[in-house]
């Protein structure tokens, strides 16, 4: 159903043109909410917002606290008495934050690229093609999702070392290059594509590649952005695996590098909080950019030509 829709008006277009976000009584446009509905909606949004923002407020406030502030007073004190931004510059002095962030970025971006491409290919095959051994492939993917991740670390370390990739960013990247869950996520999205559309394309002589490029991709782009976000954050936040693979501090990723802040001798939580806030920025950026794509697939009216 999504494919056959080629609506002249998108939701965004409407909002921009009329500059009014709610529906007047008697208006014929049912897609826009009533004023009351809109107020209710914002009230709910703000309520959920209040629930989720706590830890970050606290972290932000800790990172701005000066040496004279008590950190763990009970109940917590959110407004710093002795505010400073010095923690942010100190943290970059203690660990080479930018170099480590660059390493993390390389690994995370690489993982996003391979995960998106390979899971679209695999997901399409799994959802829309019939072939011998499909059940086996599905079984392998499903079963490994159930394995406790902890059991894989050593074996993978041996594999990576055997490949000669110990202490390299390639070694960090490789095991996460494709995740079973991502394939299944994309397969779910692929099942939403009506069979007759794909068949029609086949009759028109489209090759498998053309079908993926022009038919499947536009329809699974929303889910692909989910895969991208999950992968990026997973790679960015991973600690144990890069710690195992990397032996030289020069090659560390951000999470491993940040662990240096946590020295054995009286760690300063203000610095850690500042470092964590810095590490959070790329995640927020990636997420804000990506979330817009959730809706693109529909609005563009997927089938072109």
């Amino acid at each position: 159903m999504t494919l056959t829709t080629d609506r002249p008006e998108t939701r965004e277009a409407q909002t921009v043109r009329k500059g009014q976000h709610f529906r007047r009584r008697g208006s014929s446009d049912f897609t826009r909410p009533t004023l009351l509905g809109l107020v209710l909606r914002y009230a709910l949004l703000i309520a959920v917002f209040a629930l989720v923002i706590g830890p970050f407020l606290w972290q932000l406030s800790t990172s701005l606290k000066g040496p004279a502030d008590d950190l763990y007073s009970f109940p917590p004190n959110l407004i710093p008495q002795d505010p400073t931004v010095g923690n942010y510059s100190t943290v970059t002095d203690v660990v080479p934050v930018y170099r480590y962030a660059w390493h993390s970025l390389l690994v995370a971006t690489g993982s996003v690229a391979t995960n998106v491409v390979l899971s679209v290919l695999g997901g399409y095959a799994l959802a829309c093609m019939r072939f011998r051994g499909k059940l086996i492939a599905l079984g392998v993917l499903l079963s490994t999702m159930l394995l406790p991740a902890e059991v894989t670390v050593t074996s993978n370390l041996l594999t990576i070392n055997a490949l000669g990739l110990g202490n390299t960013l390639w070694g960090v990247f490789l095991p996460g290059a494709i995740g079973a869950m991502n394939v299944l996520l994309i397969a779910t999205a692929c099942r939403m594509i009506p069979k007759d559309v794909l068949d029609a394309a086949t009759i028109d002589g489209a090759t498998t590649w053309q079908r993926i490029r022009h038919l499947v991709w536009p329809n699974v782009r929303g889910m692909a952005s989910v895969v991208a976000i999950f992968t990026f954050i997973g790679a960015w936040d991973d600690y144990l695996w890069p710690l195992m693979v990397l032996t030289e501090p020069d090659n560390y990723t951000l999470t491993v590098g940040m662990a240096y802040l946590n020295s054995n001798f009286s760690p300063d939580p203000r610095l850690i909080a500042a470092g964590t806030m810095v590490a959070l920025i790329p995640i927020v950026v990636v997420f804000s950019v990506m979330q817009r794509y959730f809706f693109k697939g529909v609005q563009e009216g997927a089938v072109k030509g």
Partner: protein
């Protein structure tokens, strides 16, 4: 020693088990039998990999760089490669290094982490490699590296030592007539005071924030193991001790959350101002200064009740090292008295692992140290002679199990004796030295 360790531990230890999978399990080392004295007389040369644990930071990096430069100047043909591992995930890292035969030549391992490596023949017997070293080091710490079951020899050079003192918040205790002079000196005295203050303050001021642990039994002179290494601490004395904790809990002298408190949880509660007593190293004054400056002014340190604990860090030499002479020479150099004094002067709150030198450290740091911390340091240095390390046979799994069962007893769900019997049975079923 550090508050975040336990939280991080959860994540980091995850893979430790997995690390021994497949190839690692059979981790025999071919040239492990290559013991005997190491010839230190010749000209030293080659590369030595030196691994520290969470010491590369603005505070310690200059010290190590100078130290290495000085050694390399003395021995021009030797190159020291210094690597440092982050605080979290250290056991995993060691395990993967040992499993793949890539242990650094010289590395920092506390006795309990060293034990499995000793069993696997991966560490060099230093007493044999260089006889006569023992006189230079702190006797208790030297012992901690010499008493591994099933093997003779000494497998580490004591490097820096820690212990705990008692911290009291007189700001909270003062209103109830408690002064520094009449602070209790025994565990029973402390628990009695806790009940009394809790009653007088209507539960506002609490003094107990930790569970009875094996350390407490050790501190009270309760025998942990018999000669065969079997655990035997389910005695009536231990049960009575646990029961006093239960009484204190029932009297409201302990926050409920202490039942699930971790090793550093009591210090955390003290920093939050929830309790007026905790145990902690002299370095805890530093935590107070950075994290709760207003508490530092009213805090005083006294010696721990009973036998104080001893935390040992040391340097070890890998038996797989291809450059044992230089590695051993460097390990001795780092742990000699002069360098240890310099190091522990910097690492405020710790004592050198050498036989002498603690006085020098105390004198050196007293000038530019917070008075509370200097006082605590003196208390600890005085107590260090009689301090006792936890037996290496006591594993983290046993610690976890013990805290779970004893929490039930403190809560009053089971009797102290039942809980102790369970813990001892569990520990004996899971002994690692057999």
């Amino acid at each position: 020693m550090k508050l975040s360790t336990r939280l991080g531990k959860a994540a980091a230890l995850a893979a430790a088990g997995a690390l021994a999978l497949s190839g690692c399990t059979g981790g025999g080392v071919e040239d492990a039998s290559d013991g005997g004295p190491v010839d230190l007389t010749g000209e030293l040369s080659g590369t030595v990999k030196f691994q520290t644990w969470s010491l590369k930071n603005e505070k310690f990096t200059p010290y190590f760089e100078d130290l290495i430069a000085a050694f390399e100047e003395e021995h021009p043909d030797v190159t020291i490669e210094w690597i440092d591992q982050p605080g979290e995930g250290y056991q995993d890292k060691i395990l993967s290094q040992a499993g793949s035969g890539t242990l650094p030549d010289v590395l920092n391992l506390p006795p309990d982490i060293a034990f499995p490596l000793v069993q696997a023949g991966q560490l060099l017997d230093l007493a044999e490699a260089h006889p006569g070293l023992d006189a230079q080091y702190n006797a208790g710490a030297w012992d901690a590296y010499s008493r591994f079951t099933g093997t003779e020899g000494t497998y580490g050079l004591p490097w820096y030592l820690g212990s705990d003192v008692s911290w009291w918040d007189l700001g909270k205790l003062g209103p109830y007539g408690v002064t520094q002079a009449d602070l209790p000196t025994t565990v029973d005295g402390w628990l009695d005071l806790a009940e009394q203050v809790a009653a007088e303050s209507d539960g506002e001021v609490m003094l107990v924030s930790s569970m009875p642990t094996v350390d407490v039994f050790l501190a009270n002179g309760i025998e942990l193991m018999d000669e065969d290494g079997a655990f035997v601490f389910n005695t009536p004395e231990a049960a009575a001790l646990v029961q006093s904790y239960a009484d204190a809990y029932a009297a409201g002298a302990m926050p409920a959350e202490a039942l699930t408190g971790s090793y550093a949880g009591n210090a955390q509660m003290y920093l939050q101002g929830q309790v007026a007593y905790t145990s902690g190293g002299p370095g805890f004054a530093g935590d107070l200064a950075t994290q709760a400056p207003s508490l530092l002014e009213t805090s005083v340190a006294t010696p721990r009740a009973g036998v104080p604990p001893l935390y040992v860090q040391g340097l070890n030499v890998a038996s797989t090292s291809e450059n044992k002479p230089a590695a051993l020479a460097f390990a001795e150099y780092v742990t000699n008295q002069e360098n240890q004094v310099a190091f522990t002067t910097l690492a405020a709150g710790f004592a050198p692992g050498t036989a002498e030198g603690a006085d020098e450290v105390a004198a050196a740091v007293a000038a530019d140290m917070d008075p509370a911390q200097a006082a605590a340091l003196n208390v600890m240095f005085d107590a260090l002679g009689g301090a006792q390390a936890m037996p290496f046979q006591w594993t983290s799994a046993m610690t976890d199990y013990a805290s779970q069962q004893l929490a039930l007893a403190v809560r009053g769900d089971v009797t102290a004796q039942e809980a102790l019997d369970d813990v001892v049975a569990y520990a004996n079923e899971n002994r690692i030295d057999q």
